[in-house]
Symmetry: C2
Subunit: 455 residues, 2 copies
């Protein structure tokens, strides 16, 4: 295979057999989660009401490689290995000497990278006799991934979707139902948390924080039910490393090494999946890529957030986790990249950022969509709003190569297609997108409500 190929594929037999646990290669593990009441470190047993033991073991594991069960690989094979593309038509438009590669996760049934973790999460729960998984979802990427995954192992799936998305973007819920899931508008009358909100605010548009509370409540109440989370946690990031492991094999087929790896970050799982395996190679001295996380200017947890203990949810029900945060009750402005609207950053990624293992920057919304449209018109695929922040950075770097003459190899992850996000493109073309300024005051207010640990 040569570098002029548009699409670099792997055969099913070349699919990686192990996930990579980056914790094994760090000088120190990330600080432990703390009990929200006692502020003491919590052990794995505290997570047992929510997650099966196999996932809790992965959450705290220090093993470098964890084998992907055959029954998970069988489902992965429905779309994996995913293609690595060389964006030649984009390069031609930019007239750049850079070579741009993108790993495309939109080929999954749910249309994003989320099934990479939804499938093993459903599998391990099924193996431990769980009958039903609950979860929350915003626009619906994660909920549809879990609906697909549970269908593969005969589990029931119950999703609480933020009311505003449930009513305005109904087709993600249709997709979840097609795979057999039950979808509730959140807040719902089914939970105490939901009923309390509805009593106070009958027409509440909901929030991810409320939906998490409902899904968690319904999981802990029922013996046969557990809960699933689509980002942030170590085991989620672990499962996503199949993206980077495949990309390593694919670039090797065309004898390339990346000079720049650029990914979008919300909770961090897609970026982690892409760069962890490459970081292993970098730490071992086998390559030396520059690694860049890109976040939306409206929700810049890495570049503007403080690194301290905070809650993972708005209501303050989760353990305290040390991470870059804008404050657990900070509500980001309504950018269309809904998957990046999270107040915090994965504790593992936050820890690695503190170690100086990668850099980060923030990009505004119209710059991102402009890049998304350029990408669609050259490469065909209409990107989801989330990866357009990374595409924008990749395009800027490729343009810089035109000036400098450098033949940089740029690798990015196109973590999903935009088939369910076309209203966002409509808003862009109508000139209705807002470049929200960094909301410094709102963040300061939210940070004032973050508990002070050990102080």
């Amino acid at each position: 295979m040569n570098r002029d190929a548009t699409k670099i594929q792997l055969d099913e037999s070349e699919m990686p057999t192990h996930w990579y646990n980056v914790v094994a290669d760090l000088p120190a593990p990330p600080p432990p989660p703390l009990h929200p009441g006692t502020h003491e470190p919590i052990g794995p047993e505290a997570l047992a009401p929510l997650f099966p033991m196999a996932l809790i073991e992965q959450e705290v594991s220090a093993e470098r490689y964890i084998e992907i069960p055959q029954a998970v690989r069988d489902v992965y094979a429905l779309w994996r290995p995913s293609p690595l593309y060389r964006a030649r038509r984009l390069e031609q438009l930019l007239d750049t000497p850079a070579r741009i590669y993108f790993k495309y996760e939109g080929v999954s049934p749910a249309g994003s990278h989320k099934p990479n973790t939804a499938v093993p999460q459903a599998y391990y729960n099924a193996m431990e006799g769980v009958k039903r998984l609950t979860t929350e979802t915003g626009a619906g990427q994660w909920g549809s991934a879990l609906a697909f995954a549970t269908a593969q192992y005969g589990l029931e799936c119950e999703v609480w979707q933020v009311a505003a998305s449930f009513s305005q973007k109904p087709y993600r819920a249709s997709m979840m139902r097609t795979w057999g899931a039950t979808v509730h508008s959140s807040p719902s009358e089914l939970t105490e948390a939901g009923r309390a909100i509805l009593a106070a605010t009958p027409d509440s548009p909901g929030s991810l924080g409320i939906a998490i509370s409902e899904a968690v409540e319904m999981a802990v109440q029922r013996e046969d039910t557990k809960y699933a989370l689509g980002s942030v946690l170590n085991h989620v990031l672990l499962h996503q490393t199949i993206i980077g492991e495949e990309a390593l094999l694919q670039l090797a087929k065309v004898d390339e090494q990346p000079d720049l790896i650029v990914g979008c970050t919300g909770g961090g799982s897609n970026f982690a999946g892409l760069f962890f395996p490459f970081l292993r190679e970098k730490l071992a001295g086998r390559m030396d890529p520059h690694i860049l996380a890109v976040e939306p200017a409206a929700c810049p947890s890495l570049t503007k957030g403080e690194y301290r203990y905070d809650f993972g949810d708005v209501a303050g029900m989760t353990p305290l986790m040390k991470m870059h945060t804008l404050g657990h009750d900070f509500v980001p402005d309504p950018i269309h990249a809904g998957g990046l609207r999270y107040h915090g950053m994965s504790p593992l990624i936050s820890h690695m950022y503190e170690l100086g293992l990668f850099e980060a920057e923030a990009i505004d919304q119209t710059t991102s969509f402009e890049a998304g449209v350029t990408f669609a018109r050259t490469q065909g695929i209409v990107p989801a709003p989330e990866p357009t922040v990374a595409i924008a950075a990749a395009i800027r770097e490729a343009k810089a190569c035109k000036e400098s003459g450098e033949e940089k190899v740029i690798l990015t992850a196109l973590c999903g297609h935009g088939h369910f996000d076309m209203a966002a493109y409509d808003a862009y073309f109508a000139g209705e997108l807002t470049d929200y300024d960094y909301p410094a005051e709102k963040v300061a207010e939210a940070m004032a409500r973050v508990p002070v640990i050990g102080g």
Copy 2:
């Protein structure tokens, strides 16, 4: 590679270099189109105001193989070769000894097989100096394919979309605009045809027939503009044969030959693309598949239509073509498989049906959707409504194999995903789908208005 692989891929270097023209292998070519006024056969020159010469030559060609230009293969490479899947999880659910393979065309940027012809049509027009293409679209599959294709060669694209779809399903139009196309609700004030309709019926929901009239009018009026059609014509079917050529190579990789080939038919281009290359092998005695076209019971042109000269459009503006027809002004009931709601059948496929080269049957709407849901829950991909008629037939045949013990190899085409069709699945789950009976009376009325040729 072995038969237990889930996905059989071809490398880009294995992409077929030629389209296959089945006319070369038929005992006689299909009857010629006739002038709508004189009823005399028309020559290629009659098509020149609408199509570039390269496509007109392909329309009447008797050459067995036509080379795919490199500039077309470069764009095909954005998603081709498309994967051939073995539907192992579906087989397991059905507990069948049959092996079910499906060729998946939903990986194209527009999400269906339509770009296979949109791309060469845009290319040949660009080569002949055309600046702009016009076309019509219903739900939007074809319009979005052409919008994508024209963006690749720097052409403008103007699409007239049936008003009912334009307002009820806005996201296909958003996709077309993302690729740079201009989309009009049809009827529009831009054309004489549109203005006449609006004067009589200001709130007209439009129809494919009206939209064709508008697109054609705007093409013939402007020197730099031509028209593009997404199905029915010989050159369209020719371009789709890359589907079957790839499937032949892919099945050979796992040492399989199909016992049954089953495809859905509307205008016929997807079915043709799948089966023409296999028919060549059958006629040459190299394999012996049973070949089955499946159409919706609400619009059964092959199984219930008469084989005679009729117009291709509702208004009677096109040449007369000999084909299986339900009457050019027959309006099918509003089934969700919008791409199969065509009153006629491709003249070439109609001719081949008369020659006994394949069989046909009709399947009702709820049976189709039931099959679509079964497919989604096992194989992950949510199918567009159109291919579910073929999936339903494939599932029925696989179940019959369970009874008989036959290890049949079944090949079908999954011509598109259902990401823009989720409202149809909503209707299915709500129990709101209608199994329209064959509308014998309405067809008889429409057939009475078909011109009598040579009588």
